[in-house]
Symmetry: C2
Subunit: 598 residues, 2 copies
Amino acid sequence: MQIYSAPLRDMRFVLHELFADDQFDASAAFAEFTPDLYDAVLEEAGRMAKDVLLPLNASGDLEGCRLENGVVRTPAGFPEAYRQFRDGGWAALASAPEWGGQGLPETLNKLVEEMICSANLSFGLYPGLTHGATTAIEGHGSEDLKRAYLPRMVSGEWSGTMCLTEPHCGTDLGLLRTRAVPQDDGSYRVSGSKIFISAGDHDLTDNVIHLVLARLPDAPAGVKGISLFLVPKFLPRDDGSFGPHNGVSVAGIEHKMGLKASATCQMQFDDATGWIVGEPNKGLAAMFTMMNTERVSVGIQGLGVGEIAYQSAVAYARERQQGRALTGPKRPDLPADPIIVHPDVRRMLMTMRVYAEGCRAVGQWTSRALDAEKHAPDPELRARATDFIALMTPVVKALFTDLASEAANLCVQTYGGHGYIREHGVEQFVRDARITQIYEGTNGVQALDLVGRKMPANMGRAMRPFFHAVSNLCEEMAGSTDKTLAAQTAALHQAFGALQLTTATIARKAMKNADEAGAAATDYLKMLGLVAIGYTFLRAARIATDRLAEGSADAAFYRAKLATAAFFFDRILPQATGSFLVIKAGSRSTMALAEELF
Amino acid sequence: MQIYSAPLRDMRFVLHELFADDQFDASAAFAEFTPDLYDAVLEEAGRMAKDVLLPLNASGDLEGCRLENGVVRTPAGFPEAYRQFRDGGWAALASAPEWGGQGLPETLNKLVEEMICSANLSFGLYPGLTHGATTAIEGHGSEDLKRAYLPRMVSGEWSGTMCLTEPHCGTDLGLLRTRAVPQDDGSYRVSGSKIFISAGDHDLTDNVIHLVLARLPDAPAGVKGISLFLVPKFLPRDDGSFGPHNGVSVAGIEHKMGLKASATCQMQFDDATGWIVGEPNKGLAAMFTMMNTERVSVGIQGLGVGEIAYQSAVAYARERQQGRALTGPKRPDLPADPIIVHPDVRRMLMTMRVYAEGCRAVGQWTSRALDAEKHAPDPELRARATDFIALMTPVVKALFTDLASEAANLCVQTYGGHGYIREHGVEQFVRDARITQIYEGTNGVQALDLVGRKMPANMGRAMRPFFHAVSNLCEEMAGSTDKTLAAQTAALHQAFGALQLTTATIARKAMKNADEAGAAATDYLKMLGLVAIGYTFLRAARIATDRLAEGSADAAFYRAKLATAAFFFDRILPQATGSFLVIKAGSRSTMALAEELF
């Protein structure tokens, strides 16, 4: 059973309450929008997700995409759902008004993204990639390109892709071979083969705008010789009609473990006409604008799948009756108790719940920085936001998606044998979530980015906004008279201390041996991620405690929040200790085995 | 790439060296067999796995099983492969010579099972379930039933099933509704619906012998009213020919996440003729004979998938070239280094390797007890072996399969995007391994069995052989002059101390509140499992150190063993500390959230 209703109450909590007084305040830039408007958008998005996208999730997985006469067909219902999505204005939510966007903040937009990905991850990729592509064009394209492409892409009339990967080159883009030859009219002829191109072709939009990494004829070797090109499927004429099909074709579509309703294409470029985006040989910077946007979004994808996995597991745990509670029958009127009475089932449900709420809160924290980076009046604040985003991008991407896969698997486990068969639709969550740990840079690459790049850059500057926030909160709350809050503050403070110590240790060891950073990376990202979640839960618990003391009419929500926070501090945060010990052991045993002895 | 060669050297190590002096010695009963014979069997089995079963693994997954005119067809090649398997005598390896078996020890048989499951898990289920069914008939059936069925089942001419689950009843067998009505001739008429019946029907054998749990008309309610019945698909006549088709039909086959070449059937029994196995209303005991055999085998299935995942990942990590080593290019002759140079890739490979070697060793330890229980001359040793098996059955089942799923996922992660597409065949490992955490009792049920049943029974008697073994080893090695061995001994001793403390804490708390055991169960099983693996690695490291000191000609193997042991103690065992802290937190936060607030 794929069960989903947008978690509106928790979304409103992270949007309005959790960070009301925090470091990344850009609210002045959005003064024209009221909280009521945000809530109305969330409600409407929740309805769209549930009524339009969710019903196509299982059927889309079963049917998949197919290549027919060189054109990709999405599963039944997808074109119509996309039309509703676009007509509802969902494609343009957070885009700049200059290009037809609604200019709403990322804090709101990322919650809507979460809903879309809960209801139908495959569907979410089509507008998601368009959003990444528009970001790159906006940031690096010429005015002509912007005017020619952005309005139609922002509205969702045309879609976008990112064409990076080639058969022999994924992570290591320096190896790429696609060529771009300049023409006298300022355009380029692009030729080469790309694989794993999400939304590379489909029947949802009239045109597909490819952003393609390629080499100029005189480009230096490696990543310093990569440029970015805009290559449309159809060449648009000035009058709005299309010219001939460009030299872009679909060589095949991939058969994947999951995400089957998202077309993953092998694209062939044969002297295709394109235009350069940004400076020659500076394509990697332009690409990273797009990639970083996508990485945060992939984290949100994970959160989305984790949330529907949680809700689907709860529904089944309430309904399925097996055995009796260890402490005696809870529902003697039934032949057996619902399995939600069993501690091990609750362990699974609470774990999924903590992951969803924790990631939603950390995602919101990051989204606030995304808004502050663009819109805060204070340049120092903008710079701090940039640093924080740099740090959190790999964490959001890898942590959220690792936890999403774990949650999806816990959902299947809650269903038992019934989770393993297609009928109930939950094994799809596992298959769909699995790709989020891989694409837009594997989670190992994210961890390396964190430890090898973000951590040492500028003497650790990117870490400061994060460290300061956690440190300040621990200090503020150290004197809490609430016993539970005091204990949770102590627990966070201890984990944070271990994280600081580990950070220093890795930095020191890595100066002598770079493998020390590499071997520690994945565990370090997990530690930092757990501290980040702990930070948000401690804030949440403080707010909930206050609201309950004030006699809030919404006591049930705040009591639930306290219960969830307690579970996090009891049962999830201690895993950071394991990671701490693992990192402490160093890289030696990881690197010791001679290659031929594997 | 599904890459597999039987890990013969490590198999010989666990079989001949690792436990040469241990507590469960039943070698006297197998004096007729020489080590050379065992090695020859392993080699031959490895060839069969690689040449006959592996080539059908990916194709079987793609094709799946289908129901045609009421009969299940297995994928192309399966009937012929099964014929070769049966003709080679592999079905009868460890069965009693009385019924045509070869009487080889379980220590050897479980290694062969591992190979079969590495090469083709779906295939492995057909003979695997037959083996479980023969065990139940041997242990509980009448002499007539044994004579009529065992010879043909042991030879593999007929296959067997376990028909337990019904739509509304999986774990909670007390709810089952299938009925058996006694007839004047001593037979029964069995009627009811069963689901999730592995190998319920297929085209590999002439007959399928179902062992069916059902209720007699006067049976008491719940699990005390369950009896076991043998119900053949075709009723055999005394002359060896078949009578008419029995009232057994296939109502459908399940569409599953994986294991697609194994037919999972919905079976319908309509006044089917059957015979009781064991005493009326004592079916659960007979069923548990079969179930416990199967549970250990499911653990071995996990190990098998974990091993092929490891080998397939290593092959790719050697071949795939991306990026340069952090410490400088290792293969400047190539456009990029093979990814095996990257610490995070090595982390994944070493983790998979440790899991495979660790589980193989713990599996062998358990298999020695299986042989000792049956064949040791000393009744006290037999009793200790029974205790040890009782303890280790849930651990082998749950630990091995949890680690297998993790290993399969690490393999996919090593492949990156290439692992997510069907072409390379490794995403199949994830889908196939996933069921092993569920069937024959979910891993949560295993953990409860360990903590709620095995731990407290007879004042903790089942724990003693395990605790004594670990304690003795730590004591023996405490004075080691080898610095590494001394440190590893200390690490194991510390984890063992935490396990003992946790055992006592859970026992004490659970007396007041049964939920304390339930909430701790999964983490406790993991802790105990890690200590068990640690025990085997410490033994292995001691042997390897000795052999290297003696100047063994096989130094490469022993050096690799030391490297693998070091990785385990550095990076895997510390996770037990996380589990220790989680259990310490108790059950409160797991149980606190009111059901309606989920």
